[in-house]
Structures are given as C-alpha cells and as structure tokens.
C-alpha cells in the first residue's frame, strides 16, 4: 500500500515539476534568446547548403539588442529585397543588451564566425571589443570605398575611434532628456521647460506630486533599480562633459561639486521632498518606467529610451501625450555639453567569412536603411537622412502620444557640443563602487558627503594601483 502511495507521490511531484518548468519558460526569454541563436545558426547553414545549384547567396548574421519586431526585421526585409540579385541576404538575431546578453555575444565573437555584424551600445564595450580583436578595424574598407566617416557623421565620429582607428560605424544619434507627461504639466499649469536648474526642477516635481499610498502620483521617477550610476552621470555630464566619473585616467571625480550636487538632487527628491519613489521602493517593488510613467504614476522620468514603449499602445495603453525637456543643470549658464552622442555602433566580426558583404550592409544601413528603426525610436546619425522625414517616422503611429515639437527639438535636431566619453580605465569596477556607495546614500545609511568621499577613496586606490 505504502509503496503505491509513494509511487503516486513521485508521479505527482514530477508532474508538478514539469508544469512549473513549463510555466517558467515565458519569463526566461533571456535564456531563450541564446538558444534560439543557435537554432538560427543551424538554419542559416541549412539554407546555404540547399541552394547549391544557383550561386548560394551570402547569409549575414547580424546581432542587435532591439527586438526584431521593433524595426530590425523590417530593415532586414528591405535589404533582402534590394540585394536579392546581388547575392547578399541578412538575418537578424536579438541579444538582450544586459551583462548576460553582451557576454553571450562576446563569447560568440571570440569563438568564431557565428556572428558577422553586431551592435555595440556603449563606448566602454566598444573599446574592449576593439582591443580584444572582436571588432574589425574598418580603415582599409573606408579607404577602399572612400567612405569617410566624417563626411556622414561629422568630426564627432572621430570621438569614437579607438586608439585612433575606426572600429565601428556610428548609426544612432542619442540625445537624452527628461521625459514628461504633458497632460499633467498642463493640468498643473506648468509650461514645458526649455531650460531649468536643479532647484527649479525640484520645485516643479513638488508641484506635480500628489496623493498617498498606492495612489500617489510622483513628480519624478528616477528608475534607480536599473543602474545607479547613469542618473548622476547624465546630470553631471551637462556641465562636466563626457567623463563625468573621471577627472583623469587615474582619478575619479566623486568629489567634484557638480557630481555632489547631482547626487544630492536625486537623494533630496527621494528622501526629503518625497517627490520620487525611493531607491528602496524601486528595488523592492521592481518598479519600471513602464509601470510608473506610462501608467500615470509619475509625471516625469529619465529618458528618452522609453519612446519604444510609448509607441507600443497594445502593451502599454495610455491616453496622455509625452513631451521632452533637457536635463536640468546645477545653475543657469552651466550647460556646456549636450548629454548624448552616437550610439548603436555597428561593428564587423574580424573572424567573419563575409567581411565584404557585411561592410556592404553596414554602409547601406547607416546611410539609407534605418527608417524602420526610426519608427521604433532610434534617430539616425548620418546626415543622409532628411530631418523632417525622420521626425515623421519617429512619431508615426503615435501622433496623439508624442509631442512632435519637443521631440524634434530635444531628440532629433543634432547639437554641436556632445559630451563624449574617452576614459574607460577600470570602469566596471568604478561603477560597482559607485553603485555600492550610492545605495548606502539613498537608503539613508550614510550622508552624500561621506558616501562620495568613500567612493572616491576606494575607486582612486583602484585606479592608482
């Protein structure tokens, strides 16, 4: 009798285990992305093999962090249509742009030719990949085709050279700004700011905050659970330029007055004014910009990468209109840089078998092919595009949800004073130290002054080693 009972229990337990596992699959998209990458690879190989009778087209494998349906698939379809007779085809594979996703990409790059082209999203990653032989030096190809980057992207392109050489084509123009709920601003009788100081920003956030408990509407949402360093660095970069965490290669700027003021601003809004969810709230409730800003629980947030979700009314239905404003500065006249620059650095795998075809695609994408991804919220960096056309594509389908005027002004019209990063010495460690001390500050374990002093001492020791 007992034996049967046990067997029954075992059966039930395994059944439950299977169902639990099945239930989890939905939430583990990250891991799936990796495995499906492998399947795509084999499928690609298969099609290559099948079409031996007519000259087999080169099938490029392109990896990017943007979900395929947000534009890249349409880009690839356009390209495949155009290049059908020229024997080049491209397949898109998405990797999640986080530590794990980038690790997968790099493992792939280091181990062979599974990837022909890929996107790099940060300058420190670009440096690492250029120096680690994961990105091809494009100098020869550029000289061969007379495709001078400065002709298309201005002298700013040179800021992304690594050790004086181009390892990528910059494709996206990033201009950052505060994302705001225009309806809430109108209701409160506040004009959309075009220039503001930290104090004015704080006051406006106070005016926009109301309600209590679960119904509270916050003036600002700092999105701090995602990454604590970018908040203060974006603020400080307006005044201090592209390396807001460094004074020089061997010294961090965690004692710089603008940096301290920026951290104080965030801390005051979280813990003194209570005009923003605290860091603890963000972490313990896993708050996201979608769950705060797009549901009307905060009037402002940092951005503008949320544009993708603003346009996705099916997943994030909302009624209000979104406008943009520049990041605030400590005091009037301190705006010396625009936080932004080039992103989406398109790189070619030096181990690729199809470097020429990949280069062909890269040129086409940067100068002609990007409109479908513009609809997903990415502004092209190349001057071959028409600004009006870009704005139109950018707000397309979301005319009622995006304010075209501030969109064009803040996000699309290029500036001439970008804060371009150049120092990457031990940046991962420096960031980790900053995050740890900032967490201590924001949860109230230490003052801003003490915390930043500790961060500086710890990070400088590391840099000088």
């Amino acid at each position: 009798m007992r034996k049967w009972k046990k067997l029954g229990a075992l059966g039930m337990a395994s059944l439950m285990a299977v169902s639990v596992l099945a239930g989890c699959q939905g939430s583990q998209k990250t891991q799936q992305a990796a495995t499906s990458a492998d399947t795509v690879k084999t499928e690609g190989a298969k099609t290559e093999g099948e079409k031996t009778d007519n000259p087999a087209p080169v099938v490029l494998r392109m990896w990017g962090g943007v979900p395929a349906e947000a534009g890249p698939q349409a880009v690839c379809d356009n390209f495949n249509q155009l290049y059908k007779d020229k024997g080049i085809q491209v397949e898109y594979e998405r990797f999640v742009n986080d530590d794990t996703g980038n690790l997968k990409l790099e493992t792939n790059l280091l181990s062979g030719d599974g990837v022909d082209l890929y996107m790099t999203y940060s300058t420190d990653a670009l440096t690492k990949r250029a120096e680690g032989n994961m990105a091809l030096d494009l100098s020869k190809l550029i000289a061969r085709d007379n495709f001078q980057l400065t002709n298309y992207f201005g002298t700013l392109a040179e800021a992304y050279y690594i050790n004086g050489k181009p390892y990528s084509i910059p494709t996206k123009l990033d201009q950052y700004g505060i994302v705001l709920n225009q309806d809430m601003f109108e209701a409160a009788g506040i004009e959309i700011p075009t220039e503001w100081t930290f104090d004015e920003f704080r006051e406006i956030a106070k005016k926009l905050t109301h309600g209590d408990g679960q119904d509270k509407v916050y003036g600002m949402f700092w999105n701090s659970q995602q990454d604590l360093t970018y908040l203060f660095t974006y603020l400080a970069a307006q005044t201090n330029g592209g390396d807001p965490m460094y004074k020089n290669d061997k010294e961090t700027s965690f004692d710089d007055p603008v940096v301290i003021k920026s951290v104080e601003l965030i801390n005051n809004m979280m813990n003194v004014d209570k005009t923003s969810p605290t860091h603890t709230d963000s972490v313990t409730q896993k708050l996201s910009q979608e769950s705060m800003f797009l549901t009307g629980k905060s009037a402002m947030t940092v951005g503008p990468w949320i544009v993708r979700s603003i346009k996705d009314q099916a997943s994030y239905p909302h009624e209000f209109k979104t406008a943009f404003a520049p990041y605030p500065v400590v005091e009037k006249g301190q705006r010396k840089y625009t936080q932004g620059g080039y992103g989406d650095h398109l790189c070619i795998n030096p181990k690729s078998q199809n470097i020429d075809a990949a280069w062909e695609f890269a040129k086409w994408y940067a100068t002609k092919g990007m409109l479908p991804v513009v609809e997903g919220g990415r502004v092209p960096a190349s001057n071959t595009y028409n600004a009006l056309e870009v704005t139109e594509a950018f707000v397309m389908g979301a005319e009622n949800y995006l304010d075209a005027e501030t969109t064009q002004k803040i996000l699309i019209t290029p500036a001439d004073n970008y804060a371009v990063p150049s120092i990457t010495n031990h940046i991962a460690e420096v960031k980790k130290i900053a995050v740890e001390e900032l967490e201590g500050i924001f949860i109230g374990k230490q003052t801003v002054e003490d915390g930043m002093k500790k961060a500086k001492a710890r990070a400088d020791e590391l840099l000088q080693k």
């Binding site: 009972k5 029954g8 229990a9 039930m12 337990a13 439950m16 285990a17 639990v20 596992l21 239930g23 989890c24 939430s27 583990q28 530590d99 690790l103 790099e106 280091l110 690492k128 990949r129 120096e131 680690g132 032989n133 994961m134 679960q214 860091h279 603890t280 709230d281 972490v283 313990t284 409730q285 896993k286 991962a428 460690e429 980790k432 995050v435 740890e436 001390e437 967490e439 201590g440 949860i443 374990k445 710890r458």
Partner: protein, 298 residues
C-alpha cells in the same frame, strides 16, 4: 583454453568501457578539462577580452591579492554567515518536521509533498515570488505592521535584513529535501528498541533525544555536509533578487566570482577565488569527517 577466457574477459571489459564511454567523454570535456584549465589560469593575469593564450604567469599573486580585496573578504564573510545560518536551521527544522509528520500528522503524504514542492520548483520562479513577498505590499511587511511596528524593515532593500531574508527563503526551499531524507531514514529505524523504551517507561521527549537523534546521526551528518556545500555555492537567488546589494550586503563568494569573471573580465583572479572556495569547502568537509567520530553512531 586460458587464452580464450582472457580474451573473453577483455571483451567483457571493453564492452563495459564502451558503455561508460559517452559519460567518460562528457566528464573529461565538461568537468576534468575545465578544472585543470581553471587551475592553470588561476596563476595568470588572464583578461577574458584579450583572448585565449594572451596571459602572463604571475605565480601566486592572485591568491595573495584577494585577502586585501574588500569585495572578496566581505563576500567570504557573507557566505559564512549565510551557511552558518542556513545549515543548522534547515537540518533541525527538517528533523522536527519529519518526526512530527511521521508520528502525529493525519494527511502525511500531502504534507510531505507540500514541503517538497519548493525544492523541485524552479529557483527563478521561486525567487521572483519571494521578491513580491518581501515587497512593502507583501505578507512580511504587513505581518510586522500588524504587530505594531511603525517602520517595517525594507527586507531586500535594507542592508541589515537583505541577507536574513535570503536565508529564510533558502531554508524554506531546502527544508523539503532534508525532510524527505529524514523521513525515509525514520521508516528504517528498528521498532523493537522503541518498544523496549516504552516498556522501560520512557516518554516521547526522552525517546526523541535518546533514540531518534542518535539513530539518525548518520543522516544528519550527510545532510549537514551536503547543505553546507550547497549554501556555500548559493548564486541564483542572489542574482535574481538583490544582485549582491544593497551595497555589499548580499554579495556572496560565488556571486563575486561571477562578477569578477564576467563583469570585470578578470578570469585568472576569478579562477583563483574558485579554487580558494574549493579549498575552504574541502577543509570544512574534512573537518566534519574528523569530527563525526564524536557524535555519529552507525
């Protein structure tokens, strides 16, 4: 005659080896080779991005340096706190529950199943549910508020409470396994001894401490060693629930090894730390083997 027999024996041997060959290849490729490789690179300054072979042998520098590394020492301390907290609670709770369910429970099977469920559930799903449980709207905060605490702790967002919160979850998810092992051990205990104890007039408590615990000591020994090893290797809940934070409050050894390998790309250093982790676990296990003579009776 003899020759044929020998070749027969050889045939049998070869067939046997052929059967285990797939596994041997697997072990060599995925266990033995990585182990040796990690030992070699632990003596180098290998930066992952520089590619294989691009390393300098630096002797024992990695092993010497880590003791000056605050991240390493604090994560080691967190790991020790974690293990020392989790192991006794899990094992003791499992024992008590096993005895109670075995003796006094009506619906034994559902109870055991309920206890075992967390152990076989996917740790990612479990961790996400527990994040919600620890949120300000979750049961823990509400419970504490019910007892009149004005400012309930923020659990995972609090430097003091984050580690205990993780420990509680680990105990919850691990107790079912230990309970299962204890239950099967309990069923194999000799009944005549208990009958003799009954005749001698021993009460339940006496029987528990004088008979059950000594009888179960080999099981306890086994469980302590295995749960100690698994708690030293805790990683998944940390990665999902706190990512080592807030500050360094939940930064445990394996998580730091992961960070230095895959965020800082210091493969040599990370390998050195994993070998230290191995040595620590080896040392603790040896110590327990030596200590078992004093309290384990077979």
């Amino acid at each position: 005659m003899k020759k044929i027999r020998l070749s027969k024996q050889l045939k049998i041997d070869l067939t046997g080896y052929a059967f285990i060959l797939p596994n041997i290849i697997g072990v060599c490729l995925f266990t033995l080779f990585p182990m040796i490789f990690s030992l070699i690179i632990s003596f180098t300054d290998w930066d992952y991005t520089k590619g294989i072979g691009n390393w300098n042998f630096i002797g024992l520098t990695n092993f010497a340096e880590m003791w000056q590394d605050e991240w390493f020492t604090s994560s080691l301390i967190n790991t020790i706190i974690f293990a020392v907290g989790v192991v006794p609670v899990t094992v003791f709770l499992a024992l008590i529950l096993a005895v109670i369910i075995d003796k006094y429970c009506v619906a034994r099977l559902p109870m055991r199943l309920a206890l075992f469920m967390p152990y076989i559930s996917n740790i990612v799903a479990v961790a996400i549910v527990w994040v919600m449980m620890y949120s300000p709207w979750g049961p823990f905060t509400q419970l504490v508020k019910l007892f009149g605490m004005e400012n309930p702790p923020q659990w995972l967002g609090d430097t003091t409470w984050a580690l205990p919160a993780l420990m509680l979850m680990t105990v919850w998810s691990g107790v079912g396994y230990s309970n299962m092992i204890y239950t099967s051990a309990l069923q194999g205990l000799p009944q005549d001894v208990y009958e003799a104890a009954d005749i001698d007039g021993a009460n339940e408590i006496q029987k528990f401490f004088r008979l059950t615990i000594p009888f179960l000591s080999p099981t306890t020994f086994f469980l302590i060693i295995t749960t100690f090893i698994t708690s030293f290797q805790v990683f998944a809940p940390i990665q999902i629930m706190t990512r080592g934070g807030p500050g360094t409050a939940t930064n445990v050894l394996v998580y730091y090894i992961y960070t230095s390998a895959f965020t800082f790309y210091k493969m040599g250093y990370a390998s050195a730390m994993s070998w230290i982790l191995f040595l620590i676990l080896f040392g603790i296990t040896m110590f327990q083997w030596a200590g078992q003579k004093k309290w384990v009776s077979y």
